[in-house]
Every structure is written in structure tokens, then in C-alpha cells.
């Protein structure tokens, strides 16, 4: 990967994490300066861009901004972006208590020194469920939510990092609640077009209320299944790439 490609990926990941543009520019300038002095490649020096962005954390509060962190916060991300965002927010002390009926992550954060949380997502359909739970539970993972075919697991980072797993000075709760990847935005746009078409047809008298309801349900289901299949295929590709190393 070229240096420019690395920084493009890092910029995308920081942007998806809600880091302001000005802060992204400042950070990438600083990191490019560092590389100019070390003479190393960005991957060698900083590691994979996505993980590095997660470790860099969220936005730095502006001077004078109130830092009273909310204790509860609900947010969501699409399937392409959820693990990255869980990494970012888990590192800031947000513990997922569950998923609500809309599939949003309902989180809380302890006041003062919060624990950092790590998360993982596994397919837990059918017979896989018991096997996955049997494998992960002894390692301290706890199922904290389910969505479609996926189960989300959480574990306090202190379980592996000891006292270093605490977040002594967590940043303020983000104002954003929606973190969409580029592919997620594209899928949402397609959903809006199809549902908009069904609504137009309903208003024009082409279909009745039940037809509209069926159309919305079918489009939503297809969208969820298609997104899930895309992400599963991407996950398989990542696993194969990891296995080859």
C-alpha cells in the first residue's frame, strides 16, 4: 500500500468515527511528518490504518466545551462499520447494554474512571450458537446483543490488559448517533429510492395500504439480507487473507 493510499484509508476511518475534518488534517500532517523523520512505511510504523484510527480515538473536545459525559448514549452503525465503531467507542469506556428494537446499541459509561470495552461480532445462527458461546464464554466474552444472524459480544479490556484497561479521562459523549460507511450510505439510498417509489405508487392509487406495507417490508428484508450477505462475504475474504499469512 502506498503512503497516500494508507492516509486515504486512515482519513476515511477517522471521518467515520466522527473526528472533525480540521482534526483529521492536523493528525495526518503530524503523522506524515513523523514518517519523514523515521523513513519507515506507514503500515510498519502505525500498523493497519483501521486499527490505528480506532486507537487514536474520537474527537478532541474543543477548548471550553463542557466535558460532562452523558452516562447513557444510543447509537448505530451499518454492518460494514459496526465493529470499527464498537472498537472506537469501547476504547472510550462505552459498554453496550443491549440492542433496542431498531438495532441501535444502547450504551452506558461509568462516571469517573471507566473501563474500556472490547467487542466482537460472530454469526450465531442455528447450531453455531451453542458452539460460539461455549468457545467465547470461558474467555470472558458475554453476549450483549443480537441482530439478524449476528451476536455481539463484550469483554472489559481489563480482562486481558489489567489496570491498563481503564479509561481515566474519557472524551465527552458524541453528539452523533449514526455512523454509516460508504457502502451503508449506498444501501440506504437504494432503500429510500425503492420505498419512495412504493409510497408514490400508494399516493397515486396504484397500490393500497397493505400493498405499501408489504412493499416496505419486502424491500427492508431484501436490503437486510443483501447487506448481511455482502458483509459475510467480506468477512470470509478477510479470514482467508488472515489464514494465508
Amino acid at each position: 500500500m502506498t503512503t497516500d493510499a494508507y492516509f486515504a484509508e486512515l482519513t476515511d476511518a477517522l471521518r467515520a468515527a466522527g473526528v472533525p475534518e480540521e482534526q483529521i488534517a492536523r493528525t495526518t500532517d503530524e503523522l506524515r511528518g513523523h514518517l519523514a523523520e523515521t523513513g519507515t512505511s506507514p503500515e510498519e510504523e502505525f500498523g493497519p490504518a483501521e486499527g490505528f484510527a480506532a486507537r487514536l480515538g474520537g474527537p478532541v473536545p474543543a477548548p471550553g466545551e463542557p466535558d460532562g459525559a452523558a452516562e447513557h448514549w444510543t447509537w448505530t452503525a451499518d454492518l460494514f462499520n459496526d465493529r470499527r465503531m464498537l472498537d472506537v467507542h469501547g476504547a472510550q469506556g462505552w459498554e453496550v447494554e443491549g440492542l433496542d428494537s431498531l438495532g441501535r446499541f444502547v450504551c452506558r459509561r461509568a462516571p469517573g474512571v471507566a473501563l474500556a470495552w472490547e467487542y466482537r461480532r460472530e454469526v450465531i445462527t442455528g447450531r453455531r450458537r451453542a458452539r460460539v458461546l461455549d468457545e467465547l464464554t470461558p474467555e470472558g466474552w458475554e453476549l450483549c446483543g443480537e441482530w439478524l444472524v449476528y451476536g455481539y459480544f463484550k469483554r472489559p479490556r481489563a480482562a486481558t490488559a489489567g489496570p491498563a484497561g481503564a479509561v481515566e479521562a474519557p472524551p465527552a459523549a458524541p453528539h452523533r448517533w449514526l455512523f454509516l460507511s460508504r457502502r451503508g450510505k449506498a444501501a440506504l439510498a437504494v432503500w429510500c429510492v425503492l420505498v419512495g417509489g412504493a409510497l408514490t405508487s400508494f399516493l397515486a392509487g396504484g397500490i393500497g395500504p397493505s400493498g405499501l406495507a408489504i412493499a416496505v417490508a419486502v424491500v427492508s428484508s431484501l436490503s437486510a439480507v443483501y447487506t448481511s450477505r455482502l458483509e459475510t462475504a467480506a468477512g470470509d475474504a478477510r479470514k482467508k487473507a488472515t489464514d494465508r499469512r
Binding site: 492536523r26 493528525t27 500532517d29 503530524e30 503523522l31 506524515r32 511528518g33 513523523h34 514518517l35 519523514a36 523523520e37 523515521t38 510504523e45 502505525f46 500498523g47 490505528f52 486507537r55 487514536l56 480515538g57 478532541v60 473536545p61 490488559a161 489489567g162 489496570p163 491498563a164 481515566e168 479521562a169 472524551p171
Partner: protein
């Protein structure tokens, strides 16, 4: 194994080590990494150092200023804030107590010279 252990030790104290590099004045990422390497703490990669600097800045323990250079990329200079200096003093003492306890225990176990 030895490298892994050192890495774990560093995790618990790296923020203090970074702050300690700023007690005599401002510095920037690469210079801080060089100073820590020179002190025998090993090479701290940028992937480890910059998240620490970011967290210290978020916590208000350091403040930073970007300065353009005449040639090449600019640098972001970090300096200790008053809360940062107080934090370093208090936490260094806590670390020293922990270090003393470890040393005493290792001596008691007969594994240290």
C-alpha cells in the same frame, strides 16, 4: 516472550514516560520516541505513541501546537499543562511505590540479585 513482557510493562507507564519527556520543555512525537529509545525503553512505534499523545491531550494533561517547517512537513509540539505536571508528580510516586513493592517481593522470592 521477553519483548511481550516489556510491552505489557510499558502499557501501564507509557503515558507517564511521555509526560516525563516534556518536563524540560516542549517536544514532538519523533523526538519523544527517540528520547524513550535512548533511555533504554526500546523503540516506541508511532502506532503506540500517537494514541497516547492524543489521550493525554484529550485529558488536558498536554497541549499541542502545530508549526509549519521551512522545508518538509511541519511538527506538532506538545507541552505539559499545570494539571499534567501535577498528574505526573502524583502518578510517578504511585508508580514508584508499586515498583518498590515488586522489587521487595522479587527479592523475597530470591529471584532478584
Amino acid at each position: 516472550m521477553a519483548a511481550d513482557r516489556r510491552s505489557s510493562w510499558l502499557k501501564g507507564v507509557l503515558d507517564l514516560l511521555v509526560l516525563s519527556c516534556l518536563t524540560d520543555g516542549e517536544s514532538y512525537g519523533y523526538e519523544i520516541a527517540k528520547a524513550l529509545d535512548g533511555a533504554g525503553l526500546g523503540e516506541i512505534k508511532g502506532g503506540t505513541l500517537y494514541p497516547v499523545l492524543n489521550r493525554l491531550e484529550q485529558a488536558g494533561l498536554v497541549e499541542a501546537e502545530f508549526r509549519a517547517a521551512e522545508r518538509g512537513p511541519g511538527r506538532r509540539y506538545y507541552r505539559l499543562t499545570d494539571p499534567g505536571r501535577a498528574h505526573l508528580t502524583a502518578e510517578s510516586e504511585a508508580w514508584s511505590e508499586f515498583h518498590r513493592a515488586v522489587r521487595t517481593q522479587l527479592h523475597a522470592g530470591g529471584t532478584a540479585s
